[in-house]
Structures are given as structure tokens and as C-alpha cells.
């Protein structure tokens, strides 16, 4: 009935040695995935939109549609 003495110390250190590298890698991977699947496409979408954007033309279109209260469509 003489069992070997169980490990009493260093249990947290042992767990951290195993889990910390995994945790850090997974976090970095998650961040990279978010960057390249969300933020880069979003930046590109905004850049493309504003490359072809004519603000005066848009303003006139909106004015004719009658959404402004300060300036009515040119017909009235």
C-alpha cells in the first residue's frame, strides 16, 4: 500500500507552460484573421467608393429627390 508521493508543487507553472503558448498563438491568429477578413476589405471598400465619388453630383441628385428642407428641388 505504499504509493508514490504525488506531485505537490509547480502545478500552475506546468499548466501555464503548456497553455500559454497555445493561448498566445490562437489570439494572434484570431486577430490576423479579423484583420484580413474584415478590416482590409472594409478599407478597400471605402477607398473604392471615394475614388469615383462626385459630391456635387450626389448633392444635386439628393436635392432633386426632395429630401432637404433648406433647399427645395429646382423645379419649385
Amino acid at each position: 500500500m505504499s504509493l508514490p508521493k504525488p506531485v505537490m508543487r509547480g502545478l500552475l507553472a506546468k499548466r501555464l507552460r503548456f497553455h500559454l503558448p497555445i493561448a498566445f498563438t490562437l489570439s494572434i491568429v484570431a486577430a490576423l484573421m479579423f484583420k484580413y477578413s474584415v478590416t482590409e476589405p472594409r478599407k478597400k471598400a471605402y477607398a473604392d467608393f471615394y475614388k469615383q465619388y462626385d459630391s456635387v453630383k450626389e448633392y444635386n441628385r439628393m436635392r432633386e429627390a426632395g429630401i432637404f428642407e433648406s433647399v427645395r428641388p429646382s423645379g419649385e
Binding site: A45, F49, M62, I67
Partner: protein, 176 residues
Amino acid sequence: MLRLTAGRAGSLLARRATAAVTTSGARMSSHGQEVTETVDMSKPMYWDRLDTPLPDRPFKEDLTAADKSLKQKEKGPWGQLTKEEKIALYRLMFCQTYTEMKQPSSEWKTVLGGIFIFLGLTGLVVWWQALYVYPPAPRTFDHEWQAKQLKRMLDMKINPIEGFAAKWDYEKGQWK
């Protein structure tokens, strides 16, 4: 004589209270054993629980002469106890075995049924409310108004890059 003093009124009330108690006492005795058993929680209690295996007291405390002789035999070497004696000793100490405690019951059917009944009743109440309690909806809920609102949002180009107006095809006049 015409005005009751506080003391006299108090004694009258007391007499009325005792009269009520005695009549209810008479009523109780005519009913028989309808009074629920009270547990004295200041003494060690017995329980059958999966998570707390050893109760504070044995199950059977008032032992018959046979039980007492069995308990005496238990004080000796246990190898001399027969299988039935060991089981009898277990049943003296505990009411239910773990297997008996773990037996599934049909309680979940009652619970689920009760839940659905009350959900149904609540549904009826809500329906009645919608019919008789709610005021008329605001004009912004009309289909016409909502269509005009949608057109205005598209004219304003709400979120034209990734959101609302980005999904509308302005040349064809339809959703992408």
C-alpha cells in the same frame, strides 16, 4: 354603562378570539389526521441526497429487539454476517440506495406541461389585450408611410459603402 372602556373592549375581543380558537379546535379534531407532520430541524436529520452521501443520523432510530440483536452482531467481525444481515443493516442505516435515488421520475412531464399551459394562458391574455386594450398604431406603421420612408432612406444614401444603400442597385431600381 354606555361607554366601553378600553379594558372591557379588550376582554370582549379576547373572549371572541378564544371562542374562535376553541371552535376551530373542535373542527380540527373532527377532521382527524389532516395536520401535516412537523420536522424538528434543531435535531440531527436524515436525508436521501446524491450529493451528500452520509446523513446526520441513521434512518431507523427506534429498533425492534431483532434489530438490536443484529446491531450487537455488527460489533463483531463482519465476515460472520450473512448477506441478508448485511442488507438488513444497510436498510437500518439508509432509506434508499443510490440506484433507487437515481431512478428517473415523470416529473419533467408535469413541469413541461405546466409551462406550456401557462404559456398558452398568457397567449390568450395577450391576444385579448391586442384586441381590446392597445390604442391604434402610429401613422408611421402604415405600409404607405413605410414605403415613402424606404424611398427617402435610399435617396439619402444611408450607409452607401457597406450598409443599407450599398445593397440597392441605383441603375436598375431594385435590390442587388
